[in-house]
Amino acid sequence: MNVVLVALGATLGAYLRNELTVASRKVKLDFPWMTFLINAVGAFLLGVVTAKIGNKAILLFLGTGMCGGFTTFGTFNFELSQLWFQHRYVRCFIYFCLSYIFGILGFALGIQL
C-alpha cells in the first residue's frame, strides 16, 4: 500500500517536472534554470509538508512520492556534466553552488514555517 502511494506521488511529481522542463525550453537562458527552480521549490515544499502533515500515508504520498519525484538528482548531475564537457566551468560551478545552497536553505525554511 505504501509503495503504491509513493509510486502515484512520484508519477504526479515527475509529470509536472517533465511539463515544466519542456515548457521552459521556450525561454532560452543558456542555463538549466528550470531544474534549479524545481529542486529549490521541491526542497522547500518537502520542508512544509514534513512540518505540517502528521498523517503517515499522506506524508508518503506528498513528501516521499511527489516531492521526491518532482525533484531530481540524476538530471541535475547530468546537466552539470554537460556544462563540464562543454568547458563552461564557471557556469557549471555556479549551477552546482546555487542548487545546493537554495535547496538546503529551502528545506530549512519550509520546515520552520
Binding site: 515527475a14 509529470y15 516531492c67 519525484g69 540524476g74 556534466s81
Partner: protein, 147 residues
C-alpha cells in the same frame, strides 16, 4: 507526441523509479542514522542516467521527447534532491558534523564524478557502436558493388 502517451510513459517510469527509491530507503536503514538509502539511489542514478539516455537513443532510435519522458520518469523519480536536503538538515540539526561532512562530500563530489564517469562510458560505448554500424554499412556497400 500526445499528452496521454507522455503521461503513460512517465507513469510507468516514475512508478518503478519512485517505488525502488522507497524500497531501497527501507532496506538501507542503518542504526547509525547515516542516510545510506538516499546516497545509494542518488549515486547509482547519477551514474546510470547518461548511459540510459545514450543507450535508448542508439539502440531504439527513439525521439528526443520519448527519451526525455522515459529518463525523466524513471531516473528522475528514482533519484531525489529534496530528500537529500532533508537528510542534510536533520544531520545538521542532530549536531553530527562528521556524518554531515561525509554525507555532503559523498553526495556533491560523488554525484558529479559518477555522472562524469557515466557520460565517459556512454561516449566510449557509442564510439564502438557507431564504428560497428559503419563497418556493417561498408560491408553491405561492398557487396552491392561486387554484384
Amino acid at each position: 507526441m500526445s499528452k496521454i502517451r507522455t503521461f503513460f510513459i512517465i507513469f510507468i517510469g516514475a512508478s518503478i523509479g519512485g517505488s525502488m527509491r522507497y524500497l531501497i530507503s527501507l532496506f538501507l536503514v542503518s542504526g547509525s542514522g547515516f542516510p545510506w538509502g538516499t546516497l545509494f539511489v542518488n549515486l547509482t542514478g547519477a551514474f546510470f542516467l547518461p548511459l540510459l539516455i545514450h543507450y535508448l537513443y542508439d539502440r531504439y532510435h527513439l525521439s528526443a521527447t520519448t527519451v526525455l519522458a522515459l529518463t525523466t520518469g524513471l531516473i528522475g523519480s528514482y533519484t531525489t534532491f529534496s530528500t537529500m536536503t532533508a537528510d542534510t538538515y536533520y544531520l545538521f540539526a542532530s549536531g553530527n558534523m562528521k556524518f554531515l561532512t561525509l554525507y555532503l562530500i559523498a553526495t556533491m563530489i560523488g554525484g558529479f564524478l559518477f555522472s562524469l564517469l557515466g557520460n565517459y562510458l556512454a561516449a566510449i560505448r557509442a564510439t564502438f557502436y557507431y564504428r560497428h554500424e559503419r563497418n556493417q554499412a561498408n560491408i553491405e556497400q561492398k557487396k552491392d558493388t561486387d554484384d
